[in-house]
Amino acid sequence: MRGFNKVVSSYQEAMAGLSDNMTIIAGGFGLCGIPEGLIKEIENIGAKGLTVVSNNCGIDDFGLGILLKDKQIKKMVSSYVGENAEFERQYLSGELEVELTPQGTLAEKMRAGGAGIPAFYTATGVGTPVAEGKEVKQFNGRDYILEESVTGDFAIVKAWKADKIGNLIYRDTAMNFNPMAATAGKVTVAEVEEIVEVGELDPNHIHTPGIYVNRIIQGSFEKRIEKITLAKN
């Protein structure tokens, strides 16, 4: 199994090959299930002109938000980009390009991209600003728009457990966009909480088969929470 060992021991190795103007697909929903260390490494590398495809863009000082302050991101493809003052400033001043994409369309763009499907029709966004410039076609009397899939030079994902050949298991709602993102990168890097020996994970419980994953790194996660809400009493 030596040829399949995908574990790397440094973040430099994990993100080796990243350069200016690349497209990065990132898993995560808000700050939940984000590859924290890989994002910090992108900041360290300092690559600029990046296109980042991710549901959200973190907050000012955490998650993808940290790539904004040195203007590393040229374009964001996201469904929701509130809660980030620097993002707002760059967007309103025209420094940052934003392609707002319905959340389900975004997930499907990644899924289709990873599955070799170049485009798909969906009813989501018909008759709205999202449909502008897109082909409309009727099926069974209903209008649908053509949406193109996405792939990235890199996909960065966060998982709970991995074995050394890249089979991944996610935990709770930290799964979110990670399984689709993992399929859609030319190079897919998984940052995980725990790496186990091959054979220790039950094949029935694998969420992302190792074929999609190129590099694995053991991370240590802060797991910041955006809104702590508690049961009364």
Binding site: Y80, A107, T124, G125, P129, T173, P179, K227
Partner: protein, 220 residues
């Protein structure tokens, strides 16, 4: 008296049926979860990948990996399932969710909804709202009938950019319950003590009254 936020949620909760899978939007729709009748079971869907939203956690239960679509910490209900965003929107777009409740800035008499963008202000994004309104058979919008200047939000044509077209079937406002069909708002119920005339005056779109002229009061 117009309904307050909780009373609007209580009225929406009367639409729930035993065995329903329901997606609740942020704001008033979220409050509906507090008024699910005791004798029925519903399963709440959270678009970030949870079917079966449980109560908020105790301090000991707080887990950064367990949040709802509003990014609040939650727990999983007994019988819950957890899945990817693609799976989540497959069930939404595939029409498997029985009821979607969401807020809006404007709704028009053709069932069009505008809920995500006010030009000139910062656009934060549509999140999952466009998928929800395109995928659901059964959509209830909760909103105030008029804005704070008294301008109607129930229009002939929405002025703001649309979230979805021809999709809203029922609206519960602080003043009334209305259905949208055949290009008009149909008044079904009025808030206790609110006159039909006030509702007419605050509905800019075409409003049709019951044939017998009787508009029962909302009971909450």
């Amino acid at each position: 008296m117009s309904l307050n936020r909780d009373q609007i949620a209580m009225r929406v909760a009367q639409e729930l049926q035993d065995g329903y899978y329901v997606n609740l939007g942020i704001g008033i729709p979220t409050l509906v979860a507090n008024y699910v009748p005791n004798d029925i079971d519903v399963m709440l869907q959270s678009e970030n990948g949870l079917l079966g939203i449980g109560p908020y956690p105790t301090e000991d239960q707080v887990d950064a990996d367990m949040i709802n679509a509003g990014k609040e910490t939650v727990t999983a209900a007994v019988g819950a399932s957890i899945f990817s965003s693609a799976e989540s929107f497959a069930m939404i777009r595939g029409g498997h969710v029985d009821l979607t409740v969401l807020g809006a800035f404007e709704v028009d008499q053709n069932g069009n909804i505008a809920s995500y963008m006010i030009p000139g202000k910062l656009v934060k994004g549509m999140g999952g709202a466009m998928d929800l309104v395109a995928g659901a058979e059964n959509i209830i919008v909760t909103m105030t009938h008029a804005d704070k200047h008294g301008n109607s939000k129930l229009l002939n044509h929405c002025n703001l950019p649309l979230t979805g077209v021809n999709c809203v079937k029922r609206i519960v406002t602080d003043l009334a319950v209305l259905d949208i069909k055949e290009g008009a708002f149909h008044l079904l119920e009025r808030a206790p003590g609110v006159s039909v005339e006030e509702i007419q005056q605050k509905t800019a779109g075409q409003l049709i009254l019951p044939q017998n002229g009787q508009v029962p009061e909302i009971s909450v």
